[in-house]
Symmetry: D2
Subunit: 317 residues, 4 copies
């Protein structure tokens, strides 16, 4: 069956607190304005809420992020009960400096933010706020909220580095925009739900899977790749990850170009299941970048059906 | 459908004349005693008779043979209308020397046989019949028959090198047996018919196919082999052959271990059809050597069905 | 040339502050007690100090770590001026709870630590310190040091979650040991220096490299793996990483089993250099796990030399 | 060392008798007019004469030929003492019909030739000489010579099918030219000598080798091909051949594009020697078709040297 695109998002959890880039990713999903948004304290907590039925969906970071959680996301989705990726979103990472009401940039002496965000604005800070004192916070949003929630006059610091969203949400004055040292950074997030019908095939899709490696199987990676290469399937991401069960035990986390509803992808997944029965299917869903997947003529659905019809004809004659 | 093993052989042509090793191969087929055996003057003539409906089956050599025709067999089957290989037979190649009635070995001065057979008994001839005079003949059987058919006293030579079968058929006295310089040689023959139901899957089968190579496709051989290797299929023979359409144009002639009715073979053949639409299926049939084909657990029919069921379950949820 | 194992470590920087697991990794290196240890505020800062000559070596995390920095480590080493990995260390990740002097476990109301460490002790905290208030800190060591450095009576919290090393360094009382929810976690760290002689070949070595992917080269991963597979080289880690130059640009980060001084590794690296001229060699060094690398007979140095001698003999005759 | 192209051919044997297409191939070699040409009765006899030092060189057919011997050539070169292929020649296969002096085409009742040649002119014969009687001969040249040598009036047949060369040599009248049913056929021949310096690298070269297969090595073919594919080497011919030591034992006979003096070919041959120590090198020599071998930039000699220099630099620093 195919997932109904117009289905309501329902209760949606995300890596919180309110105002993170993850919330920005969630708000970019059609229908988010009708959804109930529930911040979670960590990626595992967000995913656990979906598994337990306490939330219908979760938005979590899947690629390099100031909010971390990337490895945790992959590892968590790959273990425990099955989950399904339904959608990916790309968010431009850009920071603002918000101040407590009334403070000027020149007066800022103490700044708070998450340590990863701090690392990404160090150049700007040294140039514009030399000698400032730094206080770590649990997230970029938490620092800004602490500023907004403090009694006037008893703020624990003068300013916070955060996402533009949290500046809007708190109404704190913005002292500087786009203060990141490297511009153009983008982070990838995924919307996750419980197993169910797949999103419809669009022609610009991605499939995510994990393959546990049997012990002492030195040619396993090549065997996996051969199954894709002989069917003309490109990979857009591959990572070997320790399983956590001891050094030397690994699984592969893979994104491939195409949708399980396509013949060549279905054939490759069936082949992996034969060879590595522990393979997990984590979802087929539209790519955030809407380039169509290039399918060579001889690996198209039509070619697959023609090949099978030829063989069936030989067997039936 | 599956071919009925008890079906009568009907009219059977073979690379003649009567008494060749090819006839010996044909006589080894169950039911041959009820069949009508028709010698042909060449492999192409034998195959043409089947294509034209003048014969139901043809027996022809497919591997190194004193009677030649091997390359011709492969090339002829691979071009023209479709034919189907139904069975293979192995025949021990051993030569006898037959003489005209009354002659003793010591009296032999002139010997006739096919040039290829002559090459294979040269050592014995030099040791036992030094200085003998040689007359070529069109086949090993033809030389013996010329001796048997001649008016007594006007034989064109004293003795002939031939297969044991023709000695029996003509009743000519055998002057020496097993005179080949290298013992143990075996030749492979195939029984060919028009396209129809395949012989039943036995677990010890072989499939023959040809793949024409597109121009300028340097990686074609590897692409073909990858389709077999990723499905755990072994090849027992491969040859690149010029197409006859000009230097540099080739096709591959291949024997693989397995039967088209097996999932992994059907999948590989379907894949070749996608990539090289000119692929020809020439038959799935029992191997003359009755070793079972080794099928690794993860390429068994059960594994294929389990893999497909898993994917179907994901698509249907 | 080969690096002198007894060479002094000199000035060594590490991901600080003092008392992190990274410092524990550095202290496990022979000769660390004679070295000058200099904490750095981030992985990029530690590596920059080595590049600039301000430090001789840096110890940084390279695999899943509570102190983060893993992706940053790989990406930073892979860009900028060449660096060289000289050694890897494994450290058991286990947490202790330290308290301000005089506090009992039952009295703890407020706890501080890094957010990643907090995520790893949540189960223990919920069972043993229900309702406790959490304050994030920039590192596990920073929380403990803040406790140790505070004026008695004005501590900002009652306890900190940290590495055993920082408990020793500060002398703070340990309220609980081994409080991590999952035991047996291990983190991998690498010691990095400027390019120079390689550590000696030990028979249990690892080589790290990065390969930038040219645009539109769908078969690149397979081409890379083929160069290793045909030379019998196993990979122990592979990751595709975005280059940061825009979505869709990637490089591969790879660990292989073997040392550049071995023939098969040298041949594979030379081959990669031909095909992907941007390949970077990041070091050959002993594996932390001292299993010998399995070298198949036909890919041994002796086999390589024999193969070359055979060809040279043909060319010289 | 490199073979001196101007070296005299000396004593040259060939698949005889005089007047065969094989002699035509030999006469196309520069310097053949100064050589002593010695017909041999078979391919093995020609090759044995070279091995024994009775001849300096032999010209033998290596691809589909009316004179047969192709499989025999490959198998014989691949066994016994080493031989070396020095050159290949292509000869257009075209037949003439020669008659005994005074006979007209309309009067021809009996024709002789080799059985293979007979098969290739059957269409012309049926159209132009219906009902003619056929006598086999040991070679196309032998039939024509028998006609030329017979006493006038006692010729054993009226006409012979043969190569144009033998018509010239005997002076027999030509009754018809180009009587082959399929025009444009070409046969490939090789000039063979004892092991010694290789012919110089020309940029349009071919290398011939054989690889014996170890028992029970199902992936051997792919392993062989991988060694060529990863070095950008194309194959122009491949055949699995039974070794003659019993069914199921095979070797591969291979032609590749390139010369052993090229880095990529030397590296591939060295690799095969490591994996399959029984590999035999049968020669590097100019291709009869003078298309330059396409060498991709990253498999050129320059690329190989640059890759090695890079690795050497890393090891020496």
């Amino acid at each position: 069956m195919t997932r109904d695109d117009a289905a309501p998002l329902g209760r949606c959890t995300f890596l919180g607190p309110a105002g993170t880039f993850t919330e920005a990713a969630l708000r970019a999903v059609p229908g988010a304005e009708q959804a109930e948004l529930i911040p979670a304290t960590s990626v595992p907590a967000a995913l656990a809420a979906v598994r337990a039925g306490e939330a219908d969906h979760a938005m979590v970071p899947i690629e390099n992020s100031v909010e971390g959680g990337v490895s945790a996301t992959l590892d968590d989705i790959a273990s425990g009960d099955d989950l399904q990726i339904l959608r990916e979103e790309l968010v431009q990472i850009s920071f603002v400096l918000v101040g407590r009401p009334g403070v000027e940039l020149a007066d800022v002496r103490r700044v708070s933010t998450h340590t990863h965000a701090w690392a990404q604005v160090r150049g700007w800070v040294e140039a514009n706020l030399p000698g400032v004192e730094y206080t770590p916070s649990g997230s970029t949003a938490a620092a800004a909220r602490a500023l907004a929630d403090a009694e006037p006059g008893s703020e624990p610091f003068d300013a916070a580095v955060c996402a533009p969203l949290v500046a809007e949400q708190t109404g704190l004055p913005v002292l500087a925009r786009a203060i990141e040292d490297v511009t153009g950074a983008v982070t990838r997030f995924v919307l996750v739900g419980r197993p169910g019908p797949l999103p419809a095939h669009t022609g610009s899709d991605k499939t995510t899977l994990t393959v546990p490696l049997p012990d002492d199987h030195p040619g396993a990676l090549r065997e996996i790749l051969d199954q894709f290469a002989t069917r003309g399937i490109n990979l857009s991401r591959i990572e070997s990850r320790p399983t956590g069960e001891g050094m030397g035990k690994y699984f592969f986390s893979i994104d491939l170009e195409g949708h399980l509803a396509e013949e060549r992808v279905a054939a490759a997944m069936g082949a992996l299941h034969r060879i590595f029965p522990g393979v997990r299917f984590l979802g087929s869903y539209p790519r955030a970048e809407h380039r169509p997947v290039a399918v060579r003529r001889h690996t198209s659905d039509d070619a697959y059906r023609a090949g099978r019809a030829w063989v069936d004809g030989l067997l039936a004659r």
